[in-house]
Each structure stands twice: as structure tokens, then as C-alpha cells.
Symmetry: C2
Subunit: 184 residues, 2 copies
DNA sequence: TAGAGCATGTAATAGGTTACATGATTAG
DNA sequence: CTAATCATGTAACCTATTACATGCTCTA
């Protein structure tokens, strides 16, 4: 049996403070877009289960002109389960990298078309890197005071390292493809 | 509607030459473990459908003492569909990186435990890098003569760049965590 | 006045893994 | 004698996305 990490992705965010499903979705979209994502179709049912299992409590915050917010807060039991997962060894993850997969079959299409694909990849990662730098800047000089900050910094560092590697590789791959093009 | 890339992952391998489902699985396990994977539960039904849709043909190779091999060969129609997918722009991929997710909630556990998790991650990526270098060595000096080789080289380059970045980041993260530990 | 943001939620569907069944051979 | 390798395949299950429903407010 394989178990869902989404459960812990939700519980983890709740460890930052009480939040709604909408907030959790936004958090993943805006801050961690590089290495994690969640959809409403997962978040809401999980939040419901978490409350049933007493890992979180639910309260309703009324708003005028806007729908009510269902605020979930992590319980002690929730903390315990989260911590247990956090120290567990992590299984090796196999990302499915579509651009790379396509490149494996690059021989089937023209060099030009391969160049185009890698350029698209490079542009996307350049944008991603910029976003990370901006996010990092926000945190650093708006003097955010949060005990989680040191760990967010580590995550930013990851994003920077990996995206720079992506971009550097893309540049090298483009150069190699251009050489191949000339030699035709 | 979201469509499966597995279909093309299978068709793509078939573009290298006629192969069985077993071969395809092995190919992904042994050569591309870093960025793609497929399970039998996906491969066999897809192969069946590919034959039904005339994107591949099936023939049976009898063997003594071993089960028959069902060999699939890509057709012209299969090639066409593969090529069409290969030039299509690729949607941004969001890997789900469990180690990073855990790190986001690192504040919940001890620094020591965080260090342990990152060490595990580092060791795994060091092993991965070694494997890639070995694989690359095999191809390069056993003078493999295959028109796909230039593209496999690009993929190896990717593995090298990205894994080096992983390792470097892990080292930095470990240093930062050790500093945090002293300052307690 | 169209669309985006706020906010919750579900149903339909697609995507993917795991475990199992079968059975011979070979290596340790 | 046990485990792995060879080889195909299916059923049960879990995981995840997409589309839809609802409805108010604010902005371009």
C-alpha cells in the first residue's frame, strides 16, 4: 500500500498556523510552485478527514460579502503524526521530466525542433529562478520574523541551485545541438 | 482532459527498435531511472492498445525454457504520432520532491533530524551521479554506434548537472544546519 | 459587462502502483 | 533450497486532476 503525501503536505502547512483550504492551495501555488502542488480536489476532502481523525479542529469565520472561511487548526495529535512522518526516511523520488523524455527521442525530429524545445525549457526555468529570487528578497528585507524562516531559506537555496543547473545544462545542450546542425 | 505521457514513453522506446514490454521496463529502470519510470501495469495494456490502433505491430518470438517474447515494432503511423508529440510544447512540470517538502516543516523536528534527512538525500544523489558516470563511460568507450547517441549524451549531461547541483545544495544546507545547531 | 478573486465542495474520470497468478531455468 | 531472472498479464486499489456548481464583490 502506498500512502499519500498530500495528507502531510496539508498537515504541514497547518503547522504554520490555522488556515483554510483556500489558503493552503494559495500557499503551494505562490511559494513552492517549484517542487510541490496540490489541487482542491485533494485538499478539501483531506481537511475533512483530518478533522474527523482529530488531527485538526475546524472553526468557521464569517465574512460579509464573501463566503465563510473554514479555518483548520492542527491539534497535538496532528503535530505528533506530522513529526513522525518528518523523521521517516524518504523514498527515492522519480520525477517525470517530460522535456528530458522528449529529448531521448530527439533523433526522430529535426535539430531545429529540438533546439526550440530546449529553449522553451530554458525560458521557463529562467522565469522560475527570477521568481525565487524575488520571493527570497521579500522575505529577507521585509524582516519576516517566523521560526520557519531558516528552513524556507534552505528551500530557496535549493530552488536557486537546481534552476541554475537547469539553465546551465540547457545552454550547453543548445550549443551541442547547434554544432550538430552545422555538421549536417 | 489530461493525457498520458506513458503512451509516448512506450512509443518512443519502440522508435529505437522492436522490443517487448519487459525490455521497455528494463530500459527505464536501467538507463533513465533519474527522470522517468514505468510499471508493467501501464506498459502491457498500452502495448496492446498501440497494436489495436495500428501504431505498432506485434509478433511472437518463441524461446525454449523461457516464456515467449511479444515483440512490438513501431509502424509509420506510430512514428507520425510520436513526432507530433515530440514537437508539441511541453507543459511545465511540477515534481513532487518529498525531501524538500519535509524540509519546509523542518522547524517541527530537531536540527539533528533535519541533518539526517539531508544526508540521506545527499548519499542517494551521490550514488545516482556515480551511476550516470558509469553509464556514460560505457557508451563512450565501447564505441556504441547508434544515431540516438547524441541525444543520450544530452540526457547524461542533464543528470550530471542536476545531481551535482543537488549535492552542492545538500552540502550548503548541512553547513547552515550545523551553524544553527551551534547557536542553540 | 466580462472576468478575476474570494471560498467551499463534489463527481467524474484519468493516471498509476502493487500484488498476484503462472511456470521454467539458473545462480548462489 | 532459495532467490533471482525471464516473461506476460490482470484486478484491485490508491492518487490526483478537471470540470462543475454556487454566488457575491471588485476592477478594467
Amino acid at each position: 500500500m502506498k500512502k499519500s503525501k498530500t495528507r502531510f503536505a496539508v498537515l504541514g502547512i497547518l503547522s504554520y498556523g490555522p488556515m483554510s483550504g483556500y489558503d493552503i492551495k494559495k500557499f503551494y501555488e505562490q511559494n513552492v510552485a517549484g517542487f510541490w502542488s496540490e489541487s482542491y480536489g485533494q485538499i478539501y476532502p483531506i481537511l475533512k478527514r483530518l478533522a474527523e481523525e482529530k488531527l485538526a479542529t475546524r472553526s468557521i469565520q464569517k465574512q460579509e460579502g464573501k463566503p465563510d472561511r473554514h479555518i483548520y487548526a492542527i491539534t497535538q495529535k496532528g503535530h505528533d503524526e506530522l513529526r513522525q512522518w518528518l523523521v521517516e526516511p524518504t523514498g527515492r523520488h522519480i520525477g517525470r521530466h517530460e522535456t528530458l523524455l522528449k529529448l531521448m527521442f530527439g533523433q526522430q525530429i529535426s535539430i531545429e525542433d529540438n533546439i526550440l524545445q530546449i529553449k522553451r525549457f530554458r525560458e521557463r526555468q529562467i522565469a522560475e529562478l527570477k521568481k525565487i529570487e524575488a520571493l527570497k528578497g521579500n522575505f529577507e528585507h521585509q524582516e519576516v520574523d517566523d521560526p520557519n524562516l531558516p528552513y524556507w531559506r534552505l528551500a530557496f537555496g535549493y530552488g536557486e541551485h537546481v534552476n541554475r543547473a537547469y539553465i546551465k545544462w540547457a545552454e550547453e545542450a543548445l550549443a551541442a545541438l547547434r554544432k550538430m546542425e552545422i555538421m549536417t
